[in-house]
Each structure stands twice: as structure tokens, then as C-alpha cells.
């Protein structure tokens, strides 16, 4: 939960500066990994900016996320080499297994599914990374096992 006092601090820092809306939301994004709706509503009042304008800005820039990030970020490489080696099939499999589209987080908040351009290790194509772990030459049959590792870790934690 974001505390009102914390918002007040951020707002007072930027309130009288031009272009403050973006700066305030940058701080929110950096701190929480996304911009929660109730924060937008509070800031709308504090900055006297209509919520409509705030959402125009938040959805215009890719930098801002409106949904909480997943615990683990899955990045599927769609660079040329990975694409040719069937990354598309992998994406499909991930989508089916997790029941989300790219850019979305699973219902349980465990995984966020991302598509990225070249990760710079084309020799391992197709490549998938989960957080800092790199998986090379991934076959779609491997995916359930890979996901299970994180799910089990979560259970034991």
C-alpha cells in the first residue's frame, strides 16, 4: 500500500515545476514497479489534474505499467535468430500455460510474460530468460518443467 505521506513528499518536490506529472509518476513507477490506480486517483486530487489527463500520459508512454509486476519476469527473445528457431511457438506455449498475453501478469502474480528483441546470445537460440536465469535452445516441451521450478521455489519459500 502506498502511504499518503510518501505521496505528499513526492508531490511537494515537483508540484511547482513544469512537466511535473511525468516526473511524479516516474518516481512512483520506480518505487513500486507500477502505478497503482488508487495512487493515480490520489495524485489527481493533489496535483489538481483530471484523472483523464493522467491516464492519457500513463498509457502514452511505455515506461509506465498500470498492473503490478510479476514476481518472476519471463522474457522471450524474438530477435531474428530466435524467431527463426521457433520463438513464436515458445511464446504460444507460454501463453497457453500461463493464460496471459505478452505484457501481462498471471492471476497469481507469479509470472510476467514479456517479449524482447535480441538478447545478444544468438548462439543459444531460441532463448528465454526468467529473471537472471538464461535458458538456451529451449524446446516447447521443456517449458512446463522450467515453470515448475519457480512454482516449487515459491511453495517452499
Amino acid at each position: 500500500m502506498v502511504k499518503t505521506g510518501e505521496l505528499k513528499k513526492i508531490v511537494s518536490k515537483w508540484k511547482d515545476k513544469e512537466g511535473n506529472l511525468i516526473m511524479v509518476f516516474h518516481e512512483i513507477q520506480n518505487r513500486y514497479g507500477y502505478v497503482p490506480r488508487d495512487v493515480s486517483m490520489k495524485l489527481s486530487e493533489m496535483l489538481d489534474v483530471p484523472l483523464a489527463r493522467i491516464y492519457e500520459v500513463l498509457t502514452f508512454y511505455n515506461y509506465f505499467d498500470l498492473k503490478p509486476p510479476g514476481k518472476h519476469t519471463i522474457s522471450i527473445c524474438m530477435g531474428t535468430a530466435c524467431y527463426l528457431k521457433g520463438a513464436n511457438e515458445l511464446l504460444k506455449k507460454f501463453r497457453d500455460l500461463l493464460n496471459v498475453s505478452e505484457g501481462e501478469t498471471t492471476q497469481d502474480g507469479l509470472f510476467k510474460l514479456n517479449v524482447v528483441r535480441c538478447l545478444g546470445c544468438c548462439g543459444l537460440a531460441p532463448v528465454v530468460t526468467i529473471d537472471e536465469d538464461v535458458y538456451g535452445k529451449v524446446q516447447k516441451e521443456d517449458i512446463p518443467d522450467i515453470l515448475a521450478k519457480y512454482a516449487v521455489k515459491e511453495k517452499n519459500a
Binding site: 483530471p50 484523472l51 483523464a52 489527463r53 491516464y55 492519457e56 498509457t59
Partner: protein
């Protein structure tokens, strides 16, 4: 420097205009046409579509006429084969992500994009169709958002944000994915939307459209068990003609009565009659406060449901100043199911009351609180906008031209000049002052026409001398103007000073109901003025021009209600307000 003149040429014709005039405006002064799509007369240019491109002689660059100020010595080319070609390409690009389902679209035959496509002879999809698969928002049951048909002209967001100051609509995302949405990506019904419908009246395509309920009315008319009755609002009579080629402002009252009877309604009433009743109630409320409870002034009018919604969301501290009177069409509805039903021996449960309104918000109003069914039956069963009525008339194919005029059912139909001017900004105030003056002084107001409350100025002020007390009235229309007036009240209250106004009239739509969100398309100030002029001339043509002199209103009070603000009147004709959240989510 300020009044510097610009001398230039447009299509070879010399023009002399004020500095800052755009090429498009300057072209109009010499009757040179430039095609436009996103530009609307009410709104600043957004330069969204590019159809209005023109050239300057000697320069290869193309400029958008809507947003480029004319400069000295410019020689503007408004049309040549290259411009036609470019404009056609722009149109083809817009059409490349617009669905081709014109036949099934609400704006079929009345769409600015379709008209341009017709004019430019578009016969094929020149670019690959890329449609955005976007969900529709029908949550308000008043106005529907169909974002796939949106061409991103920006009229609706502009009118909603700048003119109405509601901020219920905005663009989200960018580039190809840009889409129109309710504020913060929620449903419109959960947003600050006040259902005024100005977005739908300004949309050039079918992307924002009234919730069409004509079929419900046809079904009821077909049901032998239903006793269908209808009422027409003041502004409808001077708007509907535009759908059938009459000059704007033509008053079709009596032809409309005849039309509605032909369509199959068994009782035809006039909301203007109920406006007279509203005045009796509201003027009595004003008299009470004025004589005994001046501290509690101002009294604020409550006829406009979009305004009521706005007040409940943004100015709940004003609730105590609000007239508790229902709006005229609700009053007529409840009277049809009580007074009229009793008098004619009709079972009120069988009565099906249709309101023809210039307004989309009235569709929302009929279920906004339990008092909207104070007789035990809903006051109103269905609300149709002027545009929907236009479609029903076309479906029935009855022609106004050869239709002899008829009279309404008098007991809820006969109205005064005061009742009919309710349809324009200032009208409610003028009607109320005519009667309040009489109620307070016992004398007739000498000059019934209170010119200061008329016209299209956003905020109007007038002072009327009642028994030596100067009654200060304010009139605001266009939601964006209301804040200025109400902030003055708030400030005076805070400082414990005397109220700057005693009586305030508010109508959400610019121009009042004549410019309502459910009126025929193409509205601008010239049209608003002509429609209002139609109502004022109706007023002048009436022998009886004050609500309290309406013989049928007198009879209603004598035989049914007792007197204004009687217990019965309070129960049937009044309602309460409550604070509502601006966002439901």
C-alpha cells in the same frame, strides 16, 4: 498591434481579415469551401485528420487550413488536382482502419466520414484493412462508445473536457493503438460521465451514439394491452424539422402532435405544460425562501438531469440550494399515470409513457432514484431523443409537409409561452421570474420579456426589482461555465457574506436544450440561435405567457394537487438528491 489586418489571397480572391484568422476561417469569408472532417465550429482545431490541406503558391509544402493562421501576402491554393489526390489518400488511410459496415451503422446516411467517402468516390479499399479490435462500452444505457469506428478527430474529448469540464472521455495509448475511452480505462457508467451526450452530438461518425430504444416503443405500440402516450419537450419542436429539410428553428408543434397520433399514440401531451407546473412549484419554493429564509438562497434549478448528476458528483454542498422539483418530463409522466389515468378511467399499469427529448441524459434520469416512480409506476417508460423520433417518423414514412396540424390532449397538453421557452438557456429563469414576481407582489410583471437572460453568452446575469428588493439571477449553460458561478457561491458562504445570486439556472448543454445532446447533428451557435428564436416566437404568439395563468394548470391544482408544495405535490412532483462518487471504481 492587436487589430492588425492581414491582406492575402485565397483561391485568387483578395481577403482582408484580422490577424490570427486561420486560412479556413478566412476562406469562409469569401465563400470558398475547403473540405474538413475533424474540425467542428464549436471547438478549436485539433489538426487531427489532414483533409483540409491547402497550398501556398510557390511552395511545395501543404498546410492544414484549420490551424494555420493566414499571413500577409499569402496566395492560397484551395483546390487543384494534386490537392484532390492528397485529400483522397488521407481519406483512404482513415478508412483503412474504419469498418465498412455503414449499412448497419447508426450514422448511415448521416455520417460525415461516409459523406466525404461518397464525395471523393471511394470505391475500394486501397490500403490493407487494419481494424482495431476494441470492446464497445454500452454501460450507461444512454450513450454507447464504439471505439472501432472512431477516427480520432478529438471532438468528443474536446467537448467533454474543455466545453463541459467533465473529463469523462480521453484518448488512451498512442499511434495505431490510440483509442477513445472512458477516463482511466473504466466503463463510462463508472466514470464522471454526466450523460449530456454532447460527445454523441459532436461525433462525426458512429463511434459515439445514443442508446437506441425505438424498437421498445414500436413493441409497446404493437401491444394491444398497452395504452401508449407520449410527450414532446419544448426543444424538440424546433429541432426535428432539420431532419426533414425544414429551415432550422421551424416550429412544428401541431404537426408533431398529428404525427404522433398517426404513429399510434393514444394520448399526446406536451412537456411544456409540465414546465408550467414546474414553474408553479419552483416559484413557490423561491417565494418561501425569499420571504422567510433568505439565508438559504440561492435557489438553483434542477430541470437538467446532466446538471443534477454533475452537482451530485462535484457540488454536493449545493444540494441544500437545489430546487427539489422534478424535471418537467418526469412531472408529466407521473401526472399521466395519476391525474390523467383517474380522469379517463385508465389502469395506470397499462399506460406506457414515452418522452421525446432533445437529451440523452433523460434516458438516465428516469431511473436515477426511487422518486422517479413515486406513483408506484415509473413516471416514464422510455425516453427517445429527437434523433430517434426522426428515425421513427422515417420508418413510418409519414410526411410532415401535407400533415394538417392537430391539438394535444389538453389536460396535459395546453401550455403557455413561459412553458415553451424552457427549451433554451435563460428560458427557465425567465418563466420562473414572471411567476415569482406575480406570486410575491400580487402584480403582473410589466415587461414579460427579460432580455438580459437571453442569448448565448456562457454566463448571464440579470437583476429584477421585486418589491424594492433586487433579485439577482445568474444563468449558466455549458457545464464548463457552471463552476465559475458556483465558486462565487462557495466563496460567499465561506466568508459568511451575502450570496451574490438569489436564483440560478443551469443547463448542461451549450445553448440549453435546443443544443441538447439528442438533437439533430450539425449544431453550432447559428443553429442554437435559430432554434431558440423558434421558441421565443412561440412564446410571443401565445396569449397566455405566464405559467400561473394556464387554465389547465389551475384546474390541475384545483381538482388534483391542491396547491403548489402541497403534500400530494411534494410526493409526486419532488425528489431528493444525494452525494455520488465521481468515480465508481
Amino acid at each position: 498591434m492587436k487589430n492588425k489586418k492581414i491582406k492575402a489571397k485565397i483561391a485568387g480572391i483578395e481577403v482582408n481579415v484580422k490577424e490570427g484568422t486561420t486560412i479556413l476561417e478566412a476562406a469562409k469569408t469569401v465563400h470558398i469551401g475547403i473540405p474538413t472532417l475533424c474540425k467542428h465550429a464549436d471547438l478549436p482545431p485539433t489538426a487531427g485528420c489532414g483533409i483540409c490541406v491547402v497550398k501556398i503558391k510557390g511552395s511545395p509544402k501543404m498546410l492544414r487550413a484549420c490551424c494555420t493562421p493566414l499571413e500577409n501576402g499569402m496566395d492560397i491554393i484551395t483546390q487543384d488536382p494534386e490537392l484532390v489526390e492528397v485529400r483522397r489518400t488521407i481519406l483512404e488511410l482513415i478508412l483503412s482502419n474504419h469498418p465498412n459496415d455503414c449499412l448497419k451503422c447508426g450514422r448511415n446516411n448521416n455520417c460525415e466520414l461516409q459523406t466525404l467517402a461518397g464525395d471523393f468516390g471511394i470505391r475500394e479499399d486501397s490500403f490493407e484493412k487494419l481494424l482495431r479490435n476494441l470492446p464497445e462500452d454500452k454501460s450507461t444505457k444512454t450513450i454507447e462508445l464504439i471505439p472501432q469506428k472512431c477516427i480520432l478527430c478529438g471532438r468528443c474529448t474536446n467537448v467533454c473536457q474543455q466545453i463541459q469540464d467533465v473529463w469523462a472521455l480521453s484518448f488512451l495509448e498512442r499511434g495505431f493503438y490510440t483509442r477513445i475511452s472512458a477516463t482511466g480505462d473504466i466503463e463510462l457508467a463508472e466514470s464522471p460521465c454526466i450523460k449530456c451526450g454532447q460527445c454523441s452530438a459532436h461525433c462525426p461518425t458512429g463511434a459515439i451514439f445514443e442508446y437506441d430504444e425505438t424498437q421498445k416503443v414500436w413493441d409497446a405500440l404493437m401491444d394491444p394491452d398497452r395504452f401508449c402516450v407520449v410527450q414532446i419537450a419544448p426543444a424538440v419542436r424546433v429541432g426535428i424539422g432539420e431532419e426533414f429539410g425544414y429551415p432550422p428553428g421551424t416550429n412544428l408543434t401541431h404537426k408533431l402532435y398529428a404525427m404522433l397520433k398517426r404513429i399510434g399514440f393514444r394520448g399526446v401531451f406536451d412537456t411544456s405544460f409540465a414546465a408550467d407546473v414546474t414553474i408553479m412549484e419552483e416559484a413557490t419554493e423561491f417565494k418561501r425562501k425569499f420571504e422567510k429564509d433568505k439565508k438559504n438562497l440561492p435557489l438553483i434549478t434542477s430541470c437538467c438531469p446532466a446538471w443534477v448528476d454533475f452537482m451530485e458528483k462535484y457540488y454536493p454542498d449545493m444540494i441544500e440550494h437545489f430546487s427539489s422539483c422534478k424535471s418537467p418530463h418526469q412531472i408529466l409522466g407521473v401526472l399521466s399515470k395519476t391525474y390523467y389515468a383517474e380522469k379517463n378511467g385508465i389502469d395506470p399499469s397499462k399506460i406506457f409513457m414515452v418522452s421525446i427529448m432533445p437529451c440523452t441524459s433523460k434516458k438516465y434520469e428516469i431511473t436515477r432514484s426511487s422518486e422517479m416512480s413515486s406513483s408506484g409506476y415509473p413516471d416514464i417508460d422510455v425516453v427517445l431523443t429527437t434523433r430517434e423520433l426522426g428515425r421513427m417518423i422515417k420508418q413510418a414514412d409519414i410526411r410532415f409537409k401535407h400533415l394538417p396540424g392537430e391539438d394535444p390532449d389538453n389536460i396535459l397538453g395546453e401550455y403557455t409561452g413561459a412553458g415553451v421557452i424552457f427549451g433554451t438557456t435563460g428560458g427557465v429563469m425567465e418563466a420562473a421570474l414572471r411567476t415569482a414576481y406575480k406570486m410575491i407582489t400580487g402584480e403582473k410583471l410589466k415587461d414579460l420579456e427579460i432580455k438580459k437572460v437571453r442569448g448565448l453568452k456562457g454566463i448571464k446575469e440579470a437583476t429584477l426589482d421585486i418589491k424594492g428588493t433586487k433579485v439577482k439571477a445568474a444563468i449558466a449553460h455549458g457545464m464548463g461555465n457552471v463552476g465559475t458561478v458556483l465558486e462565487k457561491i462557495r466563496e460567499a458562504k465561506k466568508a459568511k457574506k451575502e450570496t451574490p445570486y438569489h436564483f440560478i439556472e443551469v443547463m448542461a448543454c451549450p445553448g440549453g436544450c435546443v443544443g441538447g445532446g439528442g438533437q439533430p447533428y450539425g449544431v453550432n451557435n447559428e443553429l442554437r440561435q435559430k432554434r431558440a428564436a423558434g421558441l421565443y416566437s412561440d412564446d410571443r404568439g401565445h396569449k397566455v405567457r405566464c405559467s400561473h395563468d394556464n387554465p389547465y394548470v389551475k384546474e390541475l391544482y384545483k381538482k388534483f394537487l391542491g396547491k403548489p408544495l402541497s403534500e400530494k405535490a411534494e410526493k409526486l412532483l419532488h425528489n431528493k438528491y444525494k452525494k455520488r462518487p465521481v468515480y465508481k471504481r
